[in-house]
Amino acid sequence: MTGSYTFDFIAVLRYWPELLRGVWVAAILSILTFLLGTAFGIFGAIGRISRRRAVYAVSTFYVELFRNTPLLVQMYIFYYGLDALSINLSAFTAALLAMSLNSGAYETEIIRGGIIAVGKGQLEAAFSIGMTYTQTLRKVVIPYALQVIFPPLGNQFIGIILGSSVASIITVPEITYVALNIGSRSYRDFETFLVIWVIYLALNLALSALFKLTGRIAFRPIF
């Protein structure tokens, strides 16, 4: 049964420059997604802890809508759906918008968790030793919240990279799209996908090690 298939990775590795370009596109897309998503997340979190009913309702609706529907469908809506409304976005822009709104919904909850984690007691303590509002924000709230949200934000970034493979479906030339392309030209689809499997894994292991190290250096135990 098995064994009669001869693997040929050389045929795939000839296309190495194309794969590298795919990695580059995925990296740009993921970094931009993370930046935009964090912006959406900050606004979302402010809305989610707001006492104003309407603001709370809108941000909650945003979070739940994007967390409870597939990323692929969200991309289709930004690419084909907007196109039906005569708004023509490039595949890259559509993917970026869908991915950053999607990531923003998750980041909203991460950032909200960080803000809540800074307990009332800490604020009272800061005020009682005579810190001003700005000082408290700069020296107590932000450093502590950052420490809390740093690890989940790192995981979120890795999640963005994994999700960026979905952008291949609406023709964004990132790693998975390039792999499909190489596979059909070299007739070595399986080997090509084994190669990018390793690429994705290596990217994630490297990033997760980097985040752990950064976290350890940046956030030495304060107390």
Partner: protein, 217 residues
């Protein structure tokens, strides 16, 4: 109202597709959980080889895109085993492998979350490792694992949309098919979005309720 039969046809088509999305997701969760549970026991075992292998398995399948895994199975199964597989088999195999990776970690974390004192107590009354594990630890771990498992189920439901790429007729594919047939893109996408949301959001709500109850207990 001569359009009505057509509308009903589409409604039935969409509901059936949503049923298939649910079905393939339940299948993946069930089989993935069984495999993941077995792996989690190996993962916490003192046998270095077993714990290293299951650790590597979980890292590899959680650390790469499900879409890439789907294509690996899609291209790999026919080549390696010389069998022509249906879209259903391809989707089921890849989603089970993927889910098993996550469930391994969910069960491992749940088992390790059970208080260390429970092990000591079990040993004190003369239980063996296996007895302590299955009679004392696992029942408690199962309860701890419920909320993350529900969360994983929501992820599976959403990820199953990727099965549409290889021609598997689930909810997303149904939306694309109706879009092509009627050219009412927005309506098709709206229906698909609402159906996913209805399924996933009810599960989210269920998951919060369970979590609250567990906290109280």
């Amino acid at each position: 109202m001569e359009n009505q039969p057509v509308l009903i046809q589409y409604a039935v088509f969409f509901l059936k597709a949503a049923g298939i999305t649910l079905g393939i997701s339940i299948l993946s969760l069930l089989v993935g959980s069984i495999v993941g549970f077995g792996f989690s026991l190996l993962r916490i075992s003192k046998q270095r080889v077993f714990s290293a292998l299951t650790f590597a398995y979980a890292e590899i399948f959680r650390g790469t895109p499900i879409l890439v895994q789907l294509f690996l199975v899609y291209f790999g199964l026919p080549i390696v085993f010389h069998i022509n597989v249906s879209a259903f088999t391809t989707v089921a195999v890849s989603m089970i492998l993927y889910t098993a990776g996550y469930m391994t970690e969910i069960f491992r974390a749940a088992i390790q979350a059970v208080d260390r004192g429970q092990w000591d107590a079990a040993y004190t009354i003369g239980m063996t490792y296996t007895q302590a594990l299955f009679k004392i630890i696992v029942p408690q771990a199962m309860r701890i694992a419920v909320p993350p498992t529900l969360g994983q189920f929501i992820s599976i439901l959403k990820d199953s949309s990727l099965a549409s790429i290889i021609g598997f007729m689930e909810l997303t594919k149904a939306g694309m098919a109706v879009r092509a047939a009627t050219s009412s893109t927005l309506l098709a996408f709206t229906i698909v979005t609402c159906l996913y949301f209805a399924i996933c959001y009810s599960l989210s709500v269920a998951s919060w309720r369970v979590e609250l109850r567990l906290k109280k207990a």
